[in-house]
């Protein structure tokens, strides 16, 4: 949203931190529901004071009362956090919960995928950012369908711009086992780097870290499974560039890979420990790290 006022921008960023922090709390609370309802209240809950990062803004949009008309900033934040809203349940072996799904579905109606992915674009083929958005929407759509069912009146699973999603709710859920082609395999899709170009590819994978969750499987996941070294090189590069959020996201993919039983060329735990002490302290990064650790726990149980 390049035209957003700075204050609006701050408000949206604070909302993302609030939602990520709440998800993080749920994850640390042994996999309960995200319980976003308190986020809708007039004041951020006192437990948020313990969350790292900037104080949540209390702009006018954040003061809407009740769950009927959530502020746009919250809905936007739900779009940003996306599939990770369900991380506490999925990592705890539970299904996506309906209250969270209803909120996310509402967010998708207010910020529909096409608007999100076409924003600021011309009429040409979708670029890499659009592909990232489409894949995140695919993941959210799969989880929404799982939480709410695919019947009429349920959430509208997002329609992706190019390869990942082919429209209907049913096909989105089916694509968990029959995924759409990977962007990299789409002929002429120059916007999507090949894993051999590990620098650019790993940055795209970092942007897709929300897909590294139990119960999601598609072309992106197949590519991740096939290229642990490219993921690891990307993580090491991000660490050395002090891009700790990208490093956290790639560490999460590595943790996911290990949970898949894939041998890694790199120890993930020391990276997570390092990022924890040097990163920006945001709830978003902390959430990435917590999910990575939970995935490693899954891998430990598996072994």
């Amino acid at each position: 949203m390049p035209t957003a006022e700075p204050s609006l921008r701050d408000e949206y960023a604070a909302a993302v931190e609030r939602v990520a922090g709440r998800t993080l709390d749920a994850l640390r609370g042994a996999g309960g529901a995200v319980a976003l309802a308190p986020v809708l209240g007039p004041e951020p809950g006192p437990e948020l004071a313990s969350a790292p990062g900037p104080e949540p803004a209390s702009g006018p949009g954040g003061a809407a009362s009740g769950a009927v008309e959530p502020p746009r900033s919250l809905l936007a934040a739900l779009r940003v956090v996306g599939p990770d809203l369900f991380a506490p349940q999925l990592l705890g072996g539970a299904a996506p919960d309906e209250p969270t799904a209803l909120l996310l579905a509402q967010a998708h109606r207010v910020f529909p995928p096409m608007a999100a992915t076409r924003a600021g674009q011309g009429t040409g083929a979708p670029d890499g950012n659009a592909v990232v958005a489409a894949w995140r929407d695919w993941a959210a759509g799969v989880l929404l369908v799982r939480a709410l069912g695919a019947g009429p009146g349920s959430a509208d699973p997002p329609v992706g711009v190019d390869p990942p999603v082919d429209g209907s709710a049913g096909s989105a859920e089916r694509s968990v086992t029959e995924p759409a082609p990977a962007p990299a395999t789409v002929p002429g899709h120059a916007a999507w780097p090949d894993p051999a170009a590990w620098q650019a590819w790993s940055i795209r994978m970092a942007q897709l870290s929300a897909l590294a969750l139990p119960g999601l499987d598609g072309a992106v996941h197949r590519t991740a499974r096939a290229h642990p070294l490219a993921l690891a090189r990307g993580a090491v590069r991000s660490m050395l560039r002090r891009d700790h959020r990208a490093a956290a996201r790639l560490a999460r993919w590595l943790a996911w890979s290990r949970a898949q039983g894939i041998a890694l060329p790199l120890d993930v735990e020391p990276i997570i420990a390092r990022i924890r002490v040097v990163s920006d302290g945001s709830a978003r990064t902390a959430l990435e790290l917590a999910i990575a650790e939970a995935l490693l726990d899954t891998a430990g149980e598996r072994a």
């Binding site: 620098q199 090189r233 090491v236 590069r237 050395l240 790199l266 120890d267 390092r274």
Partner: protein, 313 residues
């Protein structure tokens, strides 16, 4: 098989860097003061560069992959250095006075590679090698490898160093977290590979776990130091790539060096500060990077051509 464009770029970079070093010597840069003593006040001023230029030149002659003009330049650089060292007498006297110093042996080894000998120095180093003190001196692990390789090249390693033990003590030998390193460690890594493989002559002497480790992470390290414009370390990483068998880093490093090399052959050691306008200062500042570029070019070309010969033979 190495990309032909990479080889052409490498050849051009190395040849121009060699020409710049040689021309600088011909201009009178890089000479020791006439009144220099064995207690060299600032070894980095001219003494160390003499050894580095001898290294590059000796590898040009050892590998034999350059044209006759570059071979002549290499021979001229070695003759220049040997003359500066008073035909090796300066090394002998320095070693005689400072029995725990290792630089006389290390500098000497580069000349030995090209056929220069100083029998008295060899006898001195051999007898000092009998002292437990010499082997007990507290030295960084990758420096111990440098000394061991110098003894090997000079034929003075009759005690048979325990390469595995020496290697295990290095940073690289521990195959640590590849993101937990700094600029200094970068040089520790490159020098461990240089000395273990004798600058690419023995790629198989880098133990397999270390080779696999380097092959995994070298592309990342090169990417990082190219991004920050540390051309000297980036060039050393290209040498490493040529010393471990089939290269793993592609063309980005070579193209970056080609882009920053000046017409006269100078390669800035980094992009942190501009090259000095005064030519002698520029030589002092950037001589090492030119040496590294000559080594990287020479060993890369040699390994690629050797591979081709093996394939058809």
């Amino acid at each position: 098989m190495t990309d032909h464009e990479v080889l052409a770029t490498a050849q051009r970079i190395g040849s121009r860097a060699l020409a710049w070093l040689d021309a600088s010597h011909e201009t009178g840069f890089g000479a020791l003061d006439d009144n220099v003593t064995i207690d060299i006040a600032d070894p980095n001023n001219a003494y160390k560069p003499i050894g580095e230029c001898a290294l590059a030149a000796s590898l040009v002659l050892r590998e034999g992959v350059t044209g006759p003009a570059d071979a002549d330049r290499a021979r001229r650089m070695l003759a220049f250095g040997w003359a500066q060292l008073r035909d090796g007498n300066l090394l002998y006297e320095r070693q005689l006075r400072h029995m725990l110093m290792t630089d006389p042996l290390e500098v000497y080894a580069h000349f030995v590679r090209a056929g220069y000998r100083h029998p008295a120095l060899e006898e001195l180093v051999r007898s000092l090698g009998e002292l437990r003190s010499v082997h007990a001196a507290e030295t960084a692990p990758n420096r111990r490898l440098a000394i061991a390789n110098a003894r090997r090249v000079a034929g003075l390693d009759h005690r048979g160093p325990d390469w595995a033990h020496l290697t295990a003590a290095t940073w690289l030998g521990a195959t640590p977290e590849p993101w937990a390193l700094d600029w200094f460690t970068g040089y520790d890594i490159t020098h461990t590979v240089f000395h273990l493989t004798d600058w690419g002559a023995r790629p198989e002497d880098l133990p397999e776990p270390l080779r696999a480790y380097v092959r995994d992470w070298l592309p990342v390290w090169l990417d990082i130091w190219l991004e920050v414009g540390q051309w000297d370390l980036a060039a050393e990483l290209l040498v490493v790539d040529s010393c471990i068998g089939e290269p793993v880093t592609g063309r980005e490093g070579w193209e970056a060096l080609a882009a920053v090399q000046r017409e006269d052959g100078l390669i800035p050691r980094d992009n942190a500060q501009p090259v000095a306008e005064e030519p002698e200062q520029a030589f002092k500042d950037h001589e090492h990077t030119a040496v590294v570029a000559v080594v990287a070019s020479t060993v890369t070309l040699s390994r690629a051509l050797g591979g081709a010969t093996a394939a058809v033979g």
